[in-house]
């Protein structure tokens, strides 16, 4: 369908990737035809895509996504969304989000004192901030996921 055909290499891999694609499409078609009792609402789906779900809730939703064609499609559409369009559609910068958003932005960035000494904000989890992520960009070697079966 896309780069799959461009990646000529091991014929065994080429064959199995084609097999996987055909099989997964057939399975999701079957899933689409099957009525799913309950779907997560837009609030949960968006929280998942934006990364705000607690780990156990996120894992639970991941399990739902691999067996629900419509929710899979919805999350894929949200992931595919071009952030530049969001920015282009935003109100002009001088009246952008207003003083309230600026207050909470400053609060979240630590410029303002927090309401409680132990307050922790999302971006501070695990010491993983966008800044830290930027720093890691300098690492020339991308990670190699471990094969959990080995």
């Amino acid at each position: 369908m896309k780069s799959a055909e461009q990646q000529k290499g091991d014929p065994q891999v080429t064959a199995i990737r084609r097999a996987i694609e055909v099989r997964l499409k057939a399975r999701m078609r079957d899933e689409a035809a099957r009525a799913v009792a309950a779907h997560p609402d837009e609030d949960v789906i968006n929280a998942y895509v934006e990364g705000w779900l607690e780990e156990s809730k996120a894992d639970s939703l991941t399990s739902h996504l691999v067996s629900c064609a419509s929710c899979l499609h919805l999350t894929a559409q949200l992931i595919r969304f071009d952030p530049e369009m969001d920015e282009a559609a935003a109100p002009s910068a001088d009246v952008d989000e207003g003083p309230l958003q600026r207050f909470f932005d400053r609060l979240a960035s630590g410029v303002l004192p927090s309401m409680g000494e132990d307050a922790v904000f999302a971006y501070q989890d695990n010491g993983e901030s966008p800044d830290n992520a930027e720093k890691s960009d300098s690492d020339a070697n991308p990670p190699e996921p471990e094969n959990k079966s080995t």
Partner: protein
């Protein structure tokens, strides 16, 4: 009162009051009472925090404090005011989001004339035209502030677009094979139903069943996250850079999973995803092969046929060799397209 379901929310009253006060200061015309604001936060916390560690487990004061700190308070406050039908809030909502709603809907529908219909449907849902027990059923009632209002709107628009169009979400050719034997192309035997062709059909069905079972078994050994990424790539058609982006996103659940499996925390880009996919393909291939050999007792030449069947282009058919009553002739088992 919603706060009754959360035992520890009282410990966050000061935090909630300060947040509410800031909202009131910024938007004095929105008229959202503190009690309503607090109840909305309680609903959000109950939805996302109760039962994390074990069923019905209550969040601790620290968890609640962190959760409230993560909420998109200005978005939530705006949503609550719109839910109340506050005119100033709706004006502000329009100022912040109207152009985005129109722009993205038109982008989604690619100039389709139905775009206006979808935009109208979104506003109808947001405002809520149904009244149940005296309460207007506005879509804003479902927004908790856990994610951004803009992201939530994207999901609402997508649903509205689907509702208007009712297009099939997974576009798979009807010729694609599936578990249903009737839809499997190799079932369609051309010409007369000779004894040989009937026998060939029986053999094909045997291989088809083994192929589907072995491939499903191989895929079932993958972690859900691995399967999800395969689905995004192969079924939804996400590009490698789009997959890399979600793995890069600091708070992405997929990134958390990816990093647990990696000893390094460096940048993820297209080649990383490609290498990861390659590993998954090899893993599935090995298990697929082992299943066919060990569980189904197939010989190497029969496994090759199964591989060809699994990867078959629905537009083509694989020419199976003539069969004897004893099975396939060994020297004739190589099928077209098998690798």
């Amino acid at each position: 009162m919603e706060t009754d379901s959360l035992k520890n929310l009282g410990s966050c009253t000061a935090q909630l009051r300060e947040s509410h006060a800031q909202c009131v200061e910024s938007y004095p015309n929105f008229d959202v009472p503190f009690e309503e604001f607090r109840d909305a936060v309680a609903i959000a916390a109950a939805k996302y925090l109760i039962g994390l560690a074990e069923p019905n487990a209550q969040p601790s004061p620290a968890e609640l404090e962190r959760f409230i700190g993560e909420l998109k308070i200005p978005d939530l406050y705006l949503g609550l005011a719109c839910l109340r039908g506050n005119e100033h809030a709706w004006w502000e909502f329009d100022r912040q989001h109207r152009s985005f709603i129109e722009r993205w809907t038109r982008h989604l529908l690619r100039g389709d004339a139905d775009a206006d219909e979808v935009i109208d449907a979104v506003y109808v849902e947001l405002f809520g035209t149904r009244v149940v027990d005296g309460v207007r059923q506005s879509k804003f009632r479902t927004y908790t502030g856990r994610g951004s209002l803009r992201g939530w709107l994207r999901a609402i628009i997508l649903h509205a677009a689907v509702d208007v169009h009712r297009a099939p979400k997974v576009e798979v050719s009807m010729d694609d094979w599936s578990e249903s034997g009737d839809e499997f192309p190799l079932q369609h035997v051309s010409g007369g139903e000779t004894e040989d062709s009937m026998l060939t059909s029986v053999v094909r069905e045997r291989y088809r069943s083994a192929t589907v079972a072995a491939l499903d078994q191989a895929l079932s050994t993958l972690d859900d996250h691995e399967t999800l990424l395969l689905l995004y790539y192969h079924v939804e058609g996400l590009k490698l850079r789009e997959i890399a982006r979600i793995v890069e996103e600091p708070k992405s659940p997929i990134r958390r999973w990816f990093q647990r499996r990696s000893s390094r925390r460096s940048r993820v880009h297209e080649s990383t995803v490609m290498r990861w996919l390659d590993k998954v393909y090899r893993k599935v291939h090995e298990r697929f092969h082992a299943e066919l050999a060990d569980k189904h007792g197939l010989k190497p030449e029969e496994i090759e046929i199964c591989k060809a069947i699994a990867a078959e282009d629905p537009a083509q058919t694989i020419n199976l060799p003539p069969v004897t009553r004893g099975g396939l002739k060994k020297e004739e088992t190589r099928s077209e397209g098998a690798s």
